[in-house]
């Protein structure tokens, strides 16, 4: 594989609650290579957004602690002074969120918002900035870039706003784009257009994408590699085709069989027992998924599970995957 762009080592992101810190991301290590799309997938509350926001330190430091190291071009982002980090944010790393409302300023015309980071990060002249913004709007498939340039965010449809945010995130040709649920609020046809757009922009610019999503369909359409997250940890990391064709971790396998997809037409869907624990209730020792698969004998789990390379490039947490059978669960109905 190609060169590493970002190295996340032992990331631990903790939020303060009642004088105590609770880790929402707990010792996560993963690399992002140049020009690859790494998808992080898991159900809500698993820690995906916390991980994404930690990369550019967008959390409120008053009650958030980020430990470990995040190496980008030899610099450790966790200890970089705020002024230098600002150059990285928007300049080297662009961000796309689920809700463009939160990222776009409602009072500033779309074109000028795209230019804002050009003012900060480049020495382009006003005319150059305008041309670049129009190019970007065209690039993200706006049918009438000149018109959109002068419009306010509320004058655009949801799909168009999402495109405007993508244009803004791409304005300084970032090496990495972090996209947190970029299509979750959109209709499927618009989602397909945005995903196709992100793929073709990536092919043209060689950008890396850290794609955060709960939607395994989006993962299958976009990812080169997939990191499956559960309760603050990566429980499986592998190429996209491995995840779909040869999933190993019980959580990954359970999730895949709970999807009512076009391919999966079985009468009953698989249901994972129990619920995703809240931050305070996270099991902090042993296999964190063990409570959700209570029929597995205790000795099938490791005392101190860690990601191990089960096959070349395919990493999985804990030993329970070796003996795990999904249909054992099917035969024991759950009243919870």
């Amino acid at each position: 594989m190609s060169e590493k762009l970002l190295e996340i080592r032992n990331m631990r992101t903790s939020f303060r609650a009642g004088g105590q810190y609770f880790a929402a991301v707990d010792n996560v290590s993963v690399d992002i290579y140049k020009n690859e799309t790494l998808a992080v997938v898991g159900e809500s509350g698993s820690g995906k957004s916390s991980m994404a926001l930690s990369v550019t330190r967008l959390h409120n430091p008053a009650y958030t602690r980020v430990e470990g190291s995040i190496l980008y071009q030899g610099k450790n982002l966790t200890s970089l002074p705020e002024a230098e980090l600002n150059k990285v944010r928007g300049g080297h790393i662009g961000m796309i969120f689920q809700d463009p409302q939160s990222a776009l300023n409602p009072l500033v015309k779309v074109g000028l918002q795209i230019e804002e980071s050009l003012v900060y990060h480049t020495d382009m002249s006003r005319a150059e900035r305008r041309n670049h913004a129009l190019d970007l709007l065209r690039g993200v498939g706006m049918p009438r870039p000149e018109l959109t340039y002068g419009q306010f965010p509320h004058e655009l449809s949801g799909g168009m706003r999402q495109r405007a945010m993508i244009a803004s995130a791409l304005s300084c040709s970032p090496a990495l784009v972090i996209a947190d649920e970029p299509t979750t609020a959109l209709d499927v046809t618009i989602q397909a257009q945005i995903l196709d757009l992100m793929r073709s922009l990536q092919a043209a610019t060689q950008t890396s994408i850290l794609l955060i999503t709960h939607d395994l369909g989006v993962v299958a359409e976009m990812a080169d590699r997939v990191a499956v997250m559960y309760a603050g940890q990566l429980v499986e990391l592998a190429s996209c085709s491995e995840i779909f064709n040869n999933p190993l971790h019980p959580y990954t396998r359970s999730l895949l069989s709970s999807i009512p997809s076009l391919e999966n037409s079985s009468e009953r869907l698989h249901v994972i027992r129990g619920i995703v624990p809240s931050l305070k209730d996270l099991p902090r020792t042993g296999c964190r998924f063990s409570r959700r698969i209570p029929w597995m004998p205790p000795d099938s789990h490791q005392d101190e599970p860690e990601l191990r390379e089960a096959a070349p490039g395919h990493y999985v947490m804990c030993s329970c995957y070796e003996t795990f059978e999904l249909f054992q669960e099917m035969n024991t109905p759950c009243r919870c």
Binding site: V188, A192, D196, D215, I259, P260, L262, C336
Partner: protein, 309 residues
């Protein structure tokens, strides 16, 4: 005899403008749709946001004023029952919402939430009522002690099941489920969908299942209604719609569903691109001069498409 018959339903909302708030026009949220639901059947209503799905559901519940058309339930014309809460019709049809939480009163215990429709329609002693609520909780897989808790004490999937328990409290014949699992995580969604199927089998329920997720719809529904711009572009059995979609809108919708097979990525994108071209080139074949959807034309017993005959 069909359980529900909707004939040429129209719902138009006034658009108000100016300082006097006068009506300056109308949003045609539903503009001439007809369909039937048989007892025990699940019919899926699919389309993008704004196409008129929720308005259709609300019209069946009598929650919005019709400006045209008729609704028959069990053969009886109930078009005039709109707003009358205690009619026998309102007993036979219930609704489940996407966001049950916002439709549950946070200060009411689960017992009161579930018993409310019962209190509107039946005289029961407190003991009988509690017994009934316990039965209902058991049907949706919640423990009996849930009855005395408040909605915020439950997870999203459990709340959705409380909504299901409430909806089935009066043993309705039809449930309109408006995006009942759209806000839920995968595993929780699976749980609610399984329960909805179980309950259907036990009680002989029919569903109008409203969703924008074609994977979920295919899992749940025998018949599909594809809605676009306030009208139906295509209706038919699940097999006909998925295997032989004929309207360009349906074909685009199906092509847009993410495919769980990473190896098919390029092929899917190519298919979407060619459909997009077809959509632009052949728009006039599928929409009239005003951009409206044509009337449905019958292809066979199991399939109708809105293209000019």
């Amino acid at each position: 005899m069909p359980l529900l018959e909707v004939k040429n339903l129209q719902v138009h909302f006034p658009i108000r403008g100016g300082i006097l708030g006068r009506t300056v026009g109308h949003t045609k949220a539903v503009d001439g749709i007809s369909f039937q639901i048989e007892p025990g059947q699940t019919v899926g209503l699919v389309g993008e946001s704004g196409s008129g799905k929720s308005t259709t559901g609300k019209a069946i519940l009598g929650l919005v004023r019709l400006c045209g058309g008729r609704i028959l339930f069990d053969g009886e014309d109930i078009t005039g029952y709109i707003g009358r809460n205690r009619s026998p019709y309102r007993r036979g049809v219930q609704m489940i919402f996407q966001d049950v939480y916002s439709s549950l009163n946070p200060r009411k215990r689960v017992l009161d939430v579930i018993a409310e429709p019962i209190r509107n329609f039946e005289r029961m002693t407190k003991a009988e009522e509690l017994r009934r609520v316990h039965e209902l909780l058991e049907v949706v897989g919640l423990s009996a002690d849930s009855a005395l808790k408040y909605p915020h004490e439950f997870s999203g999937g459990q709340r959705q099941r409380i909504g299901v328990a409430r909806a089935i409290a009066l043993r309705p014949k039809l449930i309109v489920a408006d995006e009942p699992v759209s806000a839920l995580d995968l595993s929780v969604q699976a749980q609610v969908l399984n329960y909805m199927k179980d309950i259907q089998r036990e009680l002989g329920l029919a569903y109008l299942f409203i969703s924008h997720d074609l994977g979920v719809v295919r899992h749940m529904c025998e018949r599909l209604l594809i809605m676009h711009r306030a009208r139906f572009v295509e209706t038919g059995t699940r097999e006909e719609i998925y295997n032989n979609p004929m309207h360009i809108y349906t074909r685009r919708l199906i092509a847009a569903i993410p495919d769980m097979n990473p190896a098919a990525r390029e092929a899917n994108e190519a298919r979407r691109k060619s459909l997009e071209r077809e959509y632009n080139d052949q728009f006039s074949k599928f929409y009239d001069a005003d951009g409206s959807v044509y009337d449905l034309a019958r292809i066979n017993d199991d399939h109708s498409v809105a293209i000019p005959g």
